[in-house]
């Protein structure tokens, strides 16, 4: 007897459909699994056998062959347990599989028949929906993820024995409205409100940061145009706080951005009841001892790294010089391309990594440069320290500001500072301008060089100014483009269509030691 059950798997962050083919024939009793399978997939046979026995359906002593097609692609994970169990039950004649509509089943089985959650549900559902699948049977643990996919019916399953109920009542289940979860809790038809109070981690508000006007202005420009920012300064001046507050003034995520990032989290197995979906921009702060694989992705079983988990959000590298040069160098290409490709013998895995880089560091070993009164380092020591950051990384930073200790007067005066919400309004307006001019999803910080003449038009005085700086500061081509992009954002914040010389003048103040 032959049966097939549709299921799904993930490659990188994209789902693809897999057909589980089950055949039962006469012969020596055994269970063979084929289809380029990883270890844990092969173990499915054991889990399925015992689970089925424990719900009262021992597999007959026949030769069972299971194929997971397409047979050439390497498959991993434990999500195939459930579809295989269903297929076997069908070949045994215990259940009758619905034939009128396309449906898929995904899930891991415990030995007692419990259905367990698996990572990667979100991308699989997205693909399934595209391919015309109407229903998906998945583990209860994963239903939170599924709530945000419109247009596909979810049947959640906690125990294997409930399967019989489902197949018997399939007709009536199918008649229920789309995108409703059958075993009854909430139904969500829209994406959640991004300023969702239930999801606040303690993001500082700019109103709580005293003084630091230049750093705040730089943060605003960085957030508005998605530019990379470097904060330098002595310890304890609030660099980390400003970086964290920055994540609070980023504009709300667009639908596509939410989906993109949620897919990554799903694949990493990080979506759960508290956080079923990513609707707030991620803010990742890896410790400087992080390994290259954990940062960038990879590992024996390839998975997304921190840079992908900060997709459409902020990657904050505190104490930048403490990171190993080797680790930082791995950021180069992903930053350039917005994605990371991990190659293995079994194939390539592509993870997105469109993050905004914010970094903090001391400008010299003692931390006080360029305050000559307090800096005890020689010029050579300063140069050496700064050159320790990888050159290519320095090249990809757009803004560099120094954060200094405020005066006591500032603390005493308790002047009213602008709140994050207020700043965010300006940023949302500027993001809109960018969308209209550059195209959807292309922020000023990511404008390609070839589009710059069209999108970054300058007035004559501005052109002369840029020429002057190109010559006197010995800007590289990259430095030139980065300065111009920052000027573009400053002009947008100023409500001007063409970039004027004042915008260039301001943009240049944020070069810090990037051109040294």
């Amino acid at each position: 007897m032959f049966q097939s059950v549709l299921t799904g798997a993930v490659n990188g962050v994209d789902g693809y459909l897999v057909t589980a083919e089950i055949d039962m024939a006469d012969g020596l009793p055994c269970m063979d699994m084929v289809g380029n399978l990883g270890h844990e997939v092969r173990e499915s046979s054991e889990r399925v056998r015992v689970a089925l026995k424990n719900i009262g359906y021992a597999i007959p002593p026949k030769r069972v062959t299971i194929n997971l097609s397409p047979a050439g692609i390497k498959k991993g994970g434990t999500a195939f347990d459930l579809p295989i169990a269903i297929g076997i039950l069908a070949t045994m004649g215990v259940v009758e599989l619905p034939k009128d509509e396309q449906w898929i089943a995904i899930g891991e089985l415990g030995l007692d028949g419990q259905v367990r959650g698996v990572p990667g549900i979100l991308p699989i559902l997205i693909t399934a929906k595209e391919k015309g699948i109407k229903t998906c049977i998945l583990p209860s643990d994963n239903r939170y993820e599924a709530e945000y996919i419109k247009g596909i019916r979810i049947i959640e399953l906690g125990d294997l024995y409930r399967l019989f109920d489902i197949f018997e009542n399939w007709e009536s289940m199918v008649k229920t409205k789309m995108s409703q979860i059958v075993s009854g809790t909430s139904t969500k038809t829209t994406f959640p409100d991004p300023i969702d109070k239930s999801q606040t981690h303690i993001t500082p508000n700019f109103a709580d940061i005293i003084g630091q006007s230049m750093a705040k202005r730089a943060a605003e420009i960085a957030a508005a145009g998605f530019h990379n920012l470097l904060l330098t300064g002595p310890p304890g001046t609030g660099k980390s706080m400003i970086a964290a507050a920055l994540s609070g003034i980023l504009p709300p995520m667009e639908e596509k951005e939410m989906l993109d990032t949620s897919k990554v989290y799903s694949v990493a197995g990080l979506l759960n009841e508290e956080r079923p979906f990513i609707c707030k921009r991620p803010f990742q702060t890896p410790h400087h001892t992080i390994t290259p694989q954990a940062l960038v992705g990879g590992g024996i079983v390839p998975g997304p790294g921190i840079i992908s988990l900060s997709n459409h959000g902020v990657l904050f590298l505190d104490e930048l010089p403490e990171f190993k040069r080797q680790t930082l160098d791995m950021l180069r290409q992903p930053m350039e391309e917005g994605k990371i490709v991990i190659t293995r013998k079994s194939g390539s895995y592509v993870y997105p990594c469109n993050f905004m880089l914010v970094a903090a560091m001391n400008p010299c070993p003692c931390g006080y440069y360029p305050d000559k009164n307090r800096c005890t380092c020689s010029q050579k020591e300063v140069q050496h320290y700064i050159s320790g950051i990888s050159g290519p990384l320095k090249n990809r930073i757009d803004l560099c500001v120094n954060v200094q200790r405020g005066s006591y007067d500032q603390i005493r005066e308790k002047k009213a500072e602008e709140s994050s919400e207020h700043i965010c309004e300006r940023i949302i307006a500027v993001r809109q301008i960018q969308k209209e001019r550059n195209g959807a999803g292309i922020y000023n910080g990511r404008i390609e060089a070839k589009r710059m003449p069209a999108l970054c038009e300058m007035t004559k005085p501005a052109e002369k100014m840029m020429e002057h700086y190109y010559e006197t500061q010995h800007l590289s081509m990259r430095g030139y483009h980065r300065t111009l992009r920052v000027a573009r954002t400053i002009a947008d914040l100023d409500g001007k269509k063409m970039i004027d010389d004042v915008h260039i003048l301001e943009a240049v103040s944020y070069r810090g030691f990037l051109d040294k």
């Binding site: 230049m214 202005r217 360029p370 000559k372 009164n373 006197t472 003048l505 301001e506 240049v508 103040s509």
Partner: protein, 401 residues
């Protein structure tokens, strides 16, 4: 007397110098030894010839039963004797326009003869300072502030204008700036190196080095190390005694509380030279050293003209401004705008200092007098920097020196 004269006339002098060069490069033989042996033989050539027999080794203390160390020393000297072709090596050196001026011959600066542990020989590329011209040393911190830069420049210029030579260590910071300013003003300046005269250290001052060594006939590079010696930390305190030895007066422009500059000051005091310092603000860490020197009795430079007069009075030289010293000034690179500053820029300018300050503090100070947004302040500062009024370093702004 200049080296050029020697070149054409005195062959005997050159011969002696060639042998002196041999002794300067001999491993394990220092100034004290050379002095001792010279007293015995009276001529570098005779000292050399005495190496043929064992007698000289007796004077060197390398005879009889020797420790391994002494044996090695003797072997090294013997090898040097074998390998070193006196004439060829000397011609090579002269070919690079480097001269060896041994202590016990004509041409060695009289001022250095007087000092404690005088160098046994000087190597010169260019000229030696003239005996009857006053010479002042401008020294100070390597990592100086804008004020230091400004004062070193002014001092170098003014001294050169009055025909007073400037001597220093060609180092980063104050030293190099003072020397460059003097050179640009058409004056004479001499750099004493802690490496061989053919090694430019620090590399940043290569332009200054080239001008002194090659083209302009108004200065020179001097060292007590033979050509080819690389710069090493231990050579620098030693060369400081030569700076103070050649100078008639020492000026310390800027120095932190603990500074290498004080080594030179100590030497100067031992040699009985006048020490002056530029006063500064109490809160500036780079002026603490100078202010302390003043409290300990150093002269205060509070007025450049008065200082120049004092130098002449104390060192009994005639004011002798030759035509040479009024050569053209080098044009300023940055074109300072001759138009008056706008009102807001005047306010900003007045809130700036030679000391670099972070933008936030400047913003506070400007806001006391005139409303301004941060971004507009940044715009004005950037423009003023472009025009040459302001200097910027990683978010700190100050007056351009």
């Amino acid at each position: 007397m200049t080296i050029i004269n020697h070149m054409n006339e005195n062959k005997a002098w050159h011969k002696e110098c060639a042998y002196a060069y041999f002794w300067e490069t001999a491993p394990g033989i220092g100034s004290a030894t050379i002095e001792k042996i010279f007293e015995l033989y009276g001529s570098y050539q005779k000292m050399y010839e005495a190496l043929e027999d064992e007698k000289i080794y007796h004077s060197l203390g390398l005879c009889g039963k020797m420790s391994e160390f002494k044996q090695r020393k003797k072997t090294l000297i013997k090898n040097h004797f074998m390998d070193w072709n006196v004439n060829l090596r000397y011609q090579e050196m002269i070919g690079q326009h480097i001269f060896c001026i041994p202590r016990f011959l004509n041409g060695y600066p009289h001022k250095l003869q007087e000092i404690d542990k005088a160098p046994s020989a000087l190597f010169v590329k260019g000229k030696l300072p003239e005996e009857n011209r006053p010479l002042v040393a401008i020294i100070g911190a390597r990592n100086c502030s804008n004020y230091g830069v400004h004062m070193a420049k002014e001092l170098g210029q003014v001294l050169a204008m009055h025909g007073i030579g400037v001597v220093s260590g060609l180092a980063r910071g104050i030293d190099g700036i003072g020397q460059l300013a003097a050179l640009n003003e058409g004056g004479a300046t001499f750099g004493i190196l802690g490496s061989g005269v053919d090694v430019c250290y620090p590399p940043e001052n290569i332009e200054l080095y080239k001008r002194l060594a090659n083209s302009e006939n108004r200065g020179g590079i001097i060292s007590e190390m033979p050509p080819g010696t690389q710069a090493e930390k231990k050579f620098f305190p030693m060369r400081n005694r030569i700076i103070s030895g050649l100078a008639d007066a020492i000026i310390v422009v800027e120095a932190k509380e603990k500074s290498g500059t004080f080594i030179t000051v100590e030497r100067a005091l031992e040699q009985g030279k006048d020490v002056y310092a530029c006063p500064g603000r109490m809160c500036d860490s780079l002026s603490i050293g100078c202010n302390r020197l003043i409290s300990q009795g150093a002269g205060v430079i509070w007025n450049l003209d008065e200082f120049v007069q004092e130098v002449y009075q104390n060192h009994g030289f005639h004011i002798n401004i030759n035509q040479d010293t009024t050569v053209s000034r080098i044009e300023d690179d940055q074109e300072k705008n001759t138009l008056p500053l706008t009102l807001i820029r005047q306010v900003i300018y007045n809130c700036l200092d030679y000391n670099m300050q972070p933008v936030d503090r400047i913003l506070e100070r400007v806001m006391e007098k005139h409303e301004i947004l941060l971004k507009d302040l940044l715009i004005e500062l950037s423009d003023m920097e472009r025009l040459g009024y302001v200097r910027q370093e990683n978010g700190f702004y100050g007056l351009a020196p």
